[in-house]
Amino acid sequence: MDKLVYLDNSATTKISESVLSAMMPWLTEQYGNPSSLYTIGREAKAAIDHAREQVAAAIGAKPREIFFTGCGTESDNWAIKGTAHRLAQRGKKHIITSVFEHHAVLHSCQALEKEGFEVTYLPVDSEGYVNPADVEKAIRPDTALVTIMYANNEIGTIQPIKEIGRICREKKVWFHTDAVQAIGNVRINVEEENIDMLSLSGHKIHAPKGVGALYIRQGIFLDNFMDGGAQENRRRAGTENLASIVGLGQAMEDAHQGLEEKAARLTALRDRLMDGLLAIPHTRLNGGRDNRLCTNVNISFEGIEGEGLLLWLDMSGIAASSGSACTSGSLDPSHVLLAIGLPHGIAHGSLRLSLGRYNTDEDVDKALEVIPAVVEKLRAMSPVWQRIAQNS
């Protein structure tokens, strides 16, 4: 098999050499517990403090506003449930989110509904954007939190975060954003963008799996999610995932160095890939073209189902993902594609290709060579395509 063409960087990424080498000492000789008083403990503590500075610097925060967690999902759970439980004491039991959030957010909100909280799920338009005016209209005196993702994980649409943040600030409602997909691809400044809490994850930016962070603006206090020792300023207990935290710090620094130049390169690759695939008849781009992650291509091919497409791509050495039901373990296609108004049949035939730092022009060439042929092969045996072809 030729080299793997990895086009699923929104699922996870390869650990970079720079991250791995930063981590190595902390996986080997530097095994001290950061809470210990002796030298190797203090060195471990210093390494975590350094990583905290690296993360903070990348998003315009102060180091003491960064809390390391186990993953993006934990950060989302903590921000949402921690806010809800804290502010319920002041009678605030209403949360605003959108219909097309990541499941870490949606299922956290649903869990709170079972506890008696009320949740408003804002719609998104057909291009995949939340309207800030809808946020404003939905805010009530008892609203505790607005949580809207920075960029959608399936269709890559970047939300009007600064404007939503401004509205929340004006209305004195806390604002959280899941920025797991945006981090490293978009320059984010939590101060300028009026963000109170922000979730991020290591493994999407070439750090290892199993580490994330939550930015919590100074002055905001959430109920703790993990009770135990005094780690993370007594707000997130548990012995720190030392090496991974060091890796996350390094990855944040790497991602934000020359971010604009890297994004410009990826945007050119993305556009070539997107336009090449859209040249196939009866295809559509899911999500708007403007305000879109430089890494994301999401396309529906009428008349075929996504899982078959992924299996063929895998056999051809291309890794990608789909919004098809068959790949989600349920029988429903992606809630994101349904939210932007795609009919079920078309949502089943969607393909997400997500680019990353290591993708090259040759990868795009290979994808543009393989995918049209696979689409044609699957359409040739599809009764749905048979009808589409007859009618056009």
Partner: protein
């Protein structure tokens, strides 16, 4: 997640295509659930002399269609009617639990095509074929 046999029938599907002189055609499933199977039969003297399929669906849907057509080719109609979804699953060396509905769909597609054959012959298919489920009845996507 798929057996080697499933992958073989997915990658090299047998009997794929349309059958111009089919005298029994059955289509089941719907786009909403993501699976549609269409089976074409050529029946001569109560024997299935040729069979083809067209499928919109996942890897398992394509593989079960392919295997099911292999299992009924050259068989009499009464033999073909005894084909169960379980037999298709076994012939494929198993399917993941979430994909069992694909094999049910394949069984139903064959029964629907046979019923269509009888209807075209002026014979009421219900006493022979039984009640048909034209949809993916066990699917919870509504």
């Amino acid at each position: 997640m798929y057996s080697a046999k499933v992958m073989d029938h997915f990658a090299n599907p047998r009997n794929v295509g349309e059958l111009a002189d089919a005298n029994g055609i059955g289509e089941v499933g719907n786009e909403k659930c993501g699976d549609i199977m269409k089976i074409y039969l050529k029946v001569e003297n109560e024997v299935i002399t040729d069979v083809k399929f067209m499928t919109f669906g996942c890897g398992a849907a394509i593989a079960t269609s392919s295997m099911a057509t292999e299992l009924i080719k050259g068989k009499s109609l009464s033999e073909a009617l005894t084909l169960t979804n379980q037999a298709v699953v076994e012939a494929l060396d198993g399917l993941p639990p979430v994909k069992i509905h694909c094999s049910v769909l394949a069984e139903q597609a064959i029964k629907t095509a046979i019923a269509d054959y009888y209807t075209r012959q002026g014979i009421d298919p219900t006493p022979i074929v039984g009640e048909l489920k034209s949809d993916c009845h066990d699917c919870d996507c509504h």
